[in-house]
């Protein structure tokens, strides 16, 4: 083929320019450390990397949420530990007071401490976090959860429970509404509760027993009436007699799957109530306990009513301790799942980063060796150009 002088030059220049272009690209890749300089270099890879980056940034946010969640749960957990301590102390005091050897002064001191503990419980229930949010007022985080009024302590929050997102389809509550901890505490043994009628003249003391036959147990307001000192009948809310029996001090009374304990010597005409459990706020339980202590009347009948009341209070406190413990267990399991999720997230994050790096980042060994080859190629092209351009027949026509 014929070669024209112009094309000889053009081709050489084109080749050199081409080499330089490739070299510049490799140089930029090496300088930035990125394999993909613009999406068109690898459209599929870019789109994958975009998706993965989106995921990675979501994970980062979930991690932030997770830390916040752990902080809030831990704060709630430590607050509830103190709540448990307060309740335990109140229970100890109730048991102390239940002892007949207690002096009037002793009972007064105990009553004062119970009131004090009630206030402490109130302040714990109104705990706030670092942002000034009330922990236990549901969604109404800027409303004080519990307030003491003439009618006792009332709840001003709602039952909202805020969820935080710690995984793409994983949300965990960052707290509990105050109702679930302080308000919705069943009384008695959780199924039923017992009272001694205020007008009792005997020394019969009632203590909550248990449900012995769930199938027979029917919640209703029952009254155990003592017809004589030894004969009693159990009447339901409709006035129907459901059971009769002979009372022996220390033995249990059983009817319709329900078992209660009455001790002492009830007078004929004395009566005791067996009522279904109702939710009793812890503050009322404590207030009632204190009131019972303060109203102690030093007579056989008064003592019997006092002890029956204390028995009910201790039952209620046990229920409260149980409820708080349940919430704490729940908090603990949420903390555990937050930790599990965190390690899951960070593992996922590491995997994602590795994949993103695989797609985006430059293989330096390959790039540097490519750079060398391209440099050599460019040099060769330049040298060849210089040599070829020197050749001309005119040089020989002298």
């Amino acid at each position: 083929m014929r070669i024209s002088t112009l094309s000889l030059q053009q081709q050489a220049v084109t080749a050199i320019l081409d080499q330089q272009r490739q070299l510049a690209r490799t140089q930029l890749q090496v300088a930035t450390g990125e394999r993909i300089l613009s999406p068109s270099d690898d459209p599929i890879g870019t789109s994958r990397a975009l998706n993965l980056e989106q995921l990675a940034s979501q994970l980062e946010q979930y991690e932030v949420n997770n830390n916040l969640l752990v902080n809030r749960l831990s704060l709630s957990e430590s607050t509830l530990t103190q709540v448990t301590n307060v309740l335990q102390r109140v229970r100890e005091l109730a048991i102390q007071a239940n002892n007949d050897t207690q002096s009037a002064e002793g009972r007064r001191l105990i009553a004062a401490e119970v009131r004090e503990l009630g206030d402490e419980l109130l302040s714990l229930a109104n705990a706030q976090n670092g942002q000034g949010e009330y922990l236990y007022s549901g969604f109404r985080t800027s409303t004080q959860a519990f307030r003491r009024t003439d009618a006792g302590v009332i709840y001003n929050g709602d039952q909202g429970q805020r969820l935080l997102q710690i995984g793409s389809d994983r949300t965990v509550a960052d707290g509990n509404p105050g109702t679930a901890i302080f308000q919705f505490v069943p009384s008695g043994n959780g199924r039923f509760t017992t009272t001694a009628a205020a007008g009792n003249t005997g020394t019969g003391i009632i203590a909550t027993g248990s449900v012995v036959d769930t199938a027979l147990f029917t919640p209703d307001n029952y009254v155990i009436n003592f017809l004589t000192a030894t004969d009693y009948e159990v009447v339901d809310s409709g006035g129907a007699t459901v059971s009769t029996g002979t009372y022996v001090d220390g033995n249990t009374i059983e009817f319709l799957g329900t078992q209660v304990n009455i001790s002492g010597a009830p007078d004929p005409g004395d009566s005791f109530g067996v009522n279904p459990s109702v939710n009793t706020p812890l503050f009322s339980t404590i207030d009632n306990l204190a009131a019972n202590l303060e109203q102690y009347s030093d007579s056989p009948a008064g003592r019997a009513i006092f002890h029956s009341g204390l028995n009910a209070s201790i039952d209620n406190l046990d229920q409260g301790i149980g409820v708080v413990l349940n919430v704490r267990t729940d908090l603990g399991s949420r903390l555990t799942s937050a930790e599990t999720q965190e390690s899951l997230n960070s593992q996922l994050s590491i995997d994602l980063q590795a994949t993103i790096s695989e797609i985006r980042d430059l293989d330096y060994a390959e790039a540097v060796s490519r750079l060398n080859i391209q440099l050599t190629g460019l040099q060769a092209a330049q040298q060849a150009f210089a040599r070829v351009q020197n050749l001309s027949l005119f040089n020989f026509l002298r």
Binding site: I3, S4, S7, S40, T46, Q58, E60, N279, S392
Partner: protein, 630 residues
């Protein structure tokens, strides 16, 4: 008797001219488009004598141009394609880089917006978190409008370059017609000898023209050349020429149309022109820019609609319903200038999931409407009759036609093309961010069962009883009434829809248990709607609910990247092809200095020899003279 002095003279003259041709070649070694020339030598007719035919010397038949018409055409075609791809690639790679740039692209902004909403969900009552949401929304809105303005900037540039290219084509058409005239005149004046350099010039102009637009050429018998563009529309015919012009399209919107007009007649050539810079610009506009604008707009509209829908379902810090968070302009509607009716057509957005990144033409034939996509020309199915009560609804837009429509009227509907520019945030007060749900649920403390109630979602924010208290009473362990009415069978966890809200009760309720659904008051720590809001960017809302907003944008990036990549690959291949065509043409027509050096030596020697003949003739003559003298 032949006069060999004359014969020598023809040699002298011929080789002198040959040397002139050679020096012309050497002089033009670097002239683009120059075809090397060659003296075609021929022996003069011989003189017949009794002894036979005696030659009378040499002459130059013709100084011809070494040029191959086929190779020239091949080069023109290659140049057209090359320039088309170059124009496409240079614009596409800019869009490509634009979309990938983290500081301009949508990705980082959606990520930050998501993070802002999550932070709001973490601390719904924090004024800071609320401010961050507003600021991040601004960043996102700005990204949308920046991207849109960059894309629109590319469109302006395309139009500017198109105008320039059209002007260049027009100037070339004039020059080619002028050259045609010179060539015809020179040819006839020179008795049919080709005006080589004029032909070269004309070929060079055709090459320049091919770089602008794909052309077809036909040489006429008088030496003039006819040039056609598009599907055979004449640009130059002999001494006459047409001119291209840009004009607004039928709807006075968007990309201008190219028209051909002038002495040779013409018409609209936009759909048929291809190749060259003009073809590249049109292809870029059609295949990349418009779809990119539409997809971006679709993403913006979907985000705004979805986010608004969710935001409306929430309540703000004051307990007021959320309302719109973003504002959008309604879809653009433009009338055809051919319309004879007086109807005004308005459009609005419907369901974001149905939205398609396309433009539509609505036309009326006197009885029925039809809706077609402008990109594919395919008809689009719709419902409705176009009245305010029963608007035409198709692909996530609803269209209302006012009174006074006439048969044959056409309207362009562009729901997405410029939508990303118009999106703005309308919530300005941090307190107005609706992070909370409108209702709260609660269980009564008298409840004996362990059943709990869950808020699921707001079904109808316009329910007039939404913000009234609803009580769910369990009449028995397994049936309940709502606000004292009805008796419904209870299934644990099954949705219960009351007053525009969906709740669910799960667990074991006992007769007498009560559950309340109440308006959310003072629920400043409520983040339920914020969690939903944070989900919007990753919720599948595009293309019938198959793509999230993030993925939709990712698809745009991939599409542009793929097209750019394709063009780059094609351009690389085309460069090689063009280079080959150029080399092939140069191989035939290009000047080789070594060859010319050899020719120089050759003609010089021949010239010297011819000159020697004159000296011989002189000697012979002197011999005769001296013999007479002596």
């Amino acid at each position: 008797m032949p006069d060999f002095l004359n014969t020598a003279l023809t040699g002298l003259l011929t080789f002198q001219r040959s040397l002139a041709v050679t020096s012309h070649n050497i002089a033009n070694v670097n002239t683009p488009g120059y075809s090397r020339q060659r003296p075609d030598l021929a022996a003069l007719p011989a003189q017949r004598t009794g002894q036979g035919f005696i030659g009378q010397g040499v002459e130059i038949n013709q100084i011809s141009r070494v040029s191959d018409g086929f190779l020239n055409t091949q080069l023109q075609v290659s140049l057209s394609e090359q320039n088309r791809l170059e124009a496409f690639e240079s614009l596409a790679s800019r869009i490509d880089n634009l979309l990938a740039d983290d500081s301009i692209g949508l990705n980082s902004a959606t990520r930050e917006f998501f993070a802002g909403l999550q932070a709001l969900a973490d601390n719904p009552s924090s004024a800071n978190a609320r401010q961050v949401v507003l600021s991040q929304a601004d960043v996102l809105v700005n990204r949308f409008s920046t991207l849109q303005s960059r894309l629109n900037g590319a469109q302006d540039e395309v139009q500017g370059r198109l105008q320039g290219a059209v002007d260049d084509v027009n100037a070339l058409a004039v020059s080619i017609a002028d050259l045609n005239q010179s060539i015809v005149e020179s040819t006839s004046a020179a008795g049919g000898q080709p005006p080589n350099d004029l032909l070269d010039q004309r070929d060079a102009l055709i090459n320049q023209l091919s770089e602008l637009v794909s052309v077809r050429t036909v040489i006429q018998s008088d030496g003039s050349m006819n040039v056609f563009i598009g599907s055979g529309q004449p640009l130059v015919a002999g001494l006459q020429f047409n001119q291209l012009s840009l004009s607004d399209g039928e709807f006075g919107q968007g990309f201008p149309e190219i028209r051909l007009g002038g002495a040779l007649g013409g018409g609209l050539v936009t759909p048929s022109v291809s190749g060259g810079l003009i073809g590249g610009l049109l292809d870029f506009q059609r295949e990349l820019l418009l779809p990119a604008q539409n997809t971006l707009g679709q993403t913006a509209v979907a985000l705004a609609l979805e986010f608004n829908d969710q935001h409306r379902l929430g309540v703000d810090l004051q307990g007021a319903l959320g309302g719109d968070f973003f504002a959008l302009d309604p879809p653009l509607v433009a009338n055809s200038f051919n319309n004879t009716g007086s109807a005004t057509v308005t459009a609005s957005y419907g369901n974001a999931a149905d939205l398609v990144a396309a433009d539509y033409v609505l036309s009326f034939d006197g009885a029925n409407y039809s809706l077609t996509r402008t990109d594919t020309g395919a008809p689009v199915a719709f419902t409705g009759t176009g009245t305010a009560a029963d608007p035409i609804i198709a692909n996530g837009i609803s269209i209302e036609v006012g009174a006074g429509i006439a048969a044959g009227d056409r309207f362009l509907v562009r729901p997405t093309q410029n939508a990303a520019a118009a999106i703005e945030r309308v919530i300005n007060d941090t307190n107005r961010v609706a992070a909370a749900a409108p209702v709260t649920t609660s269980i009564r403390s008298i409840n004996l069962g362990n059943a709990t109630i869950e808020f699921e979602e707001v079904l109808d924010i316009n329910d007039s009883n939404l913000l009234t208290t609803t009580t769910i009473d369990f009449i028995t362990d397994t049936t309940y009434s709502i606000n004292g009415a009805g008796s419904f069978a209870y299934t644990s966890g099954a949705p219960i829809d009351v007053n525009g809200v969906r709740v669910s009760v799960s667990g074991t309720p006992v007769a007498g248990d009560q559950f309340l659904v109440q308006p959310n008051s003072a629920g400043v720590g409520d983040n339920r709607n914020a969690l939903f809001l944070a989900e919007v960017t990753s919720r599948p809302t595009l293309n019938g609910g198959s793509l999230s907003i993030e993925e939709g944008y990712g698809q745009l990036v991939t599409r542009v990247g793929t097209l750019t990549r394709q063009t780059q690959v094609n351009l690389e291949a085309q460069s090689a092809i063009t280079n080959q065509a150029e080399q092939a043409q140069l191989a035939v027509s290009g000047v080789n200095l070594d060859e010319e050096a050899a020719n120089l030596v050759r003609y010089q020697q021949a010239y010297q020899a011819a000159a020697q003949l004159i000296s011989v003739a002189d000697t012979l003559f002197q011999t005769i003279l001296s013999s007479v003298r002596s």
